[in-house]
């Protein structure tokens, strides 16, 4: 399904928002984590943190945004684009918390990106099985 030209802008905005929300959810979830705690304490501290309220709020926004995106494009087109979140999360956690980002890691993320694109090609599988 190729989106009509009038929908293209909405689709593009929706996909950008999806990647941003995906990234922000993970960053806020990580920010909600306590420093040193017991296993139960980690859960309690995280889920009562204001950061985690942001996580829940953004997940709800993402649900409706994703419904909008899927109404405009096939999931096989939309899903691989969200894999860009692996790049933004890696960049942001390197920048915010100075987490390691080695060449091997970047190579790994590159492989995952390509893998997600290939896995999300639903049309291929339906044609291969002769179902469509």
């Amino acid at each position: 399904m190729i989106p009509q030209s009038g929908h293209k802008v909405r689709l593009l905005l929706g996909l950008v928002l999806a990647v941003l929300l995906d990234t922000a959810v993970q960053l806020c979830w990580k920010a909600a984590e306590p420093q040193n705690s017991t296993p139960v304490g980690v859960i309690l501290a995280t889920m009562t943190s204001p950061w985690f309220a942001g996580v829940v709020l953004m997940m709800i926004c993402q649900l409706f945004n994703w419904m909008m995106v899927l109404s405009l494009a096939d999931v096989s087109l939309a899903q691989p684009i969200t894999a860009l979140g692996y790049v933004t999360v890696a960049a942001m956690s390197f920048w915010l918390w100075h987490e390691t980002l080695t060449t091997v890691q970047m190579l790994g993320v590159g492989c995952i990106l390509m893998g997600v694109v290939l896995v999300s090609r639903t049309h291929g599988s339906y044609k291969a099985s002769g179902k469509a």
Binding site: V104, Q105, V116, A128
Partner: protein, 118 residues
């Protein structure tokens, strides 16, 4: 520190895969409207199981992010794509093309490269 983190990560990924498969099992026919969807949540045990899996997953993901750097844990979450594809082929008899198996192999390779950092 990282062995327990890997265990909680794998638990979270397994729960995500189970949740997705349960949800797909429940939603094989289209639902019209939010009211109909809520009605199905009340009636369908597969759907309830899927939602329960996602809630428990949140607990394991919280432990995972406590134990592992986000830079490692988040990309490794892509194992879900591989798990869902394999599970959908095995349990739901969805077709999995050669291109998709190649994609799964690429994801596994990428996760393997990330794992070298642990």
């Amino acid at each position: 520190m990282n062995l327990i983190g890997m265990v909680t990560l794998l638990a979270a990924i397994s729960l995500e895969v189970c949740g997705q498969l349960c949800m797909k099992r429940a939603m094989h026919e289209p639902v019209k409207g939010i009211i109909a969807a809520l009605g199905r949540v009340y009636a369908d045990h597969w759907l309830q199981a899927g939602i329960a899996a996602f809630v428990i997953e949140a607990i394991f993901w919280t432990w995972t992010l406590y134990l592992l750097p986000l830079n490692i844990a988040f990309p490794m979450g892509s194992l879900c794509f591989a798990g869902v594809a394999v599970g959908a082929a095995y349990f739901l008899h969805e077709p999995v093309s050669r291109v998709r198996w190649l994609g799964i192999a690429m994801i596994l390779l990428g996760v393997g490269l990330l794992g070298m950092r642990l």
